[in-house]
Symmetry: C2
Subunit: 108 residues, 2 copies
DNA sequence: CTCGTACCTAACCACTTGGTTATCTAACCG
DNA sequence: CGGTTAGATAACCAAGTGGTTAGGTACGAG
C-alpha cells in the first residue's frame, strides 16, 4: 500500500485521531493513551500498530514502558494533497471557474 | 460514522483518489471514469457510492447516463485538520518546540 | 418492437478491521 | 524468590471492503 493510502486509512478512525491529538502534548505510554477510552489494552495496541506502520508515531523502550511519540511527517503529504483541491471548495474560486469556462466557450 | 472519518476512509484508496482527480477536469459519466481502470463496472459503481456517501461527489440523471461531479467541500475539513499539525512536521518549528521545552524546564 | 448501451443490484468470495478474552514476556519492587 | 504492572501476542468473532459474475432496468437508435 502506498504511503498516502496508509496515512488516510490510519486517520479514518476517531480513536486513532484522538491518540494523535493526545500526542501533540508530548510522548505518552500505552497506558496513558488508553485511559480516555473504554477499550481493552490489546485494542489500543492494535491502533498504535496501525499508526506506527503508517509512520505517524515512533516508539521507544524505557524499562517496562514503550513510550509513543508523534511523527507528523506523513501529514504533510495529506495537507499538500488536500490543498490541491482548495479551489474546488472555495465558493469564489468556483464562480471564477465558471466565468473562465464561459469566456473560453465564447472564444472558441 | 462521523464526516471526517468517512472522508478519510473514502480517500484511503488510490482508485477513488484517481477518480476525484479526474473529476477536477469536470463532470464525467461512469463509463468515462472507469476507462482508466482494469476493473469491472460494478467495482467502479461501488467506489462511486463510497465517494457519494462521503459527500465527495454528486450525481445527476441525464437519459441513461449518471454524470458524476466533484464536491470538494469535505476536503476543506481535511485540510483544516491537517494544518493543525503543521508545526509538528515543520523541522524549524520542531526545533523551536525543543527550545521552548528547555526554557520551560530551566524556569521551573 | 428490438437491439445495444449505460448503469445498477444481488449474490458471492477472500481478505481486512476493530473489537474481545486469555495467555505470555519483561521489568520493577518487596 | 514472588507479586505486580506494562505491554505484546494469539486465537477468535462479527462486520466491512474490494473485487467478481450474473442478471435486471432504463433509455436511445434503427
Amino acid at each position: 500500500m502506498d504511503q498516502l493510502s496508509a496515512t488516510f486509512a490510519a486517520l479514518a478512525d476517531p480513536t486513532r485521531r484522538a491518540i494523535l491529538a493526545r500526542l501533540t502534548d508530548g510522548p505518552a505510554t500505552v497506558k496513558e493513551l488508553s485511559e480516555p477510552f473504554d477499550m481493552s489494552g490489546p485494542a489500543i495496541s492494535k491502533h498504535l500498530r496501525v499508526l506506527e506502520k503508517a509512520g505517524l508515531i515512533t516508539r521507544g523502550r524505557e524499562a517496562q514502558w514503550r513510550p509513543c511519540q508523534l511523527d507528523a511527517t506523513p501529514l504533510k503529504e495529506v495537507a499538500v494533497w488536500a490543498e490541491n483541491y482548495r479551489r474546488f471548495w472555495d465558493a469564489s474560486y468556483a464562480r471564477l471557474d465558471e466565468l473562465l469556462t464561459e469566456m473560453k466557450e465564447k472564444d472558441s
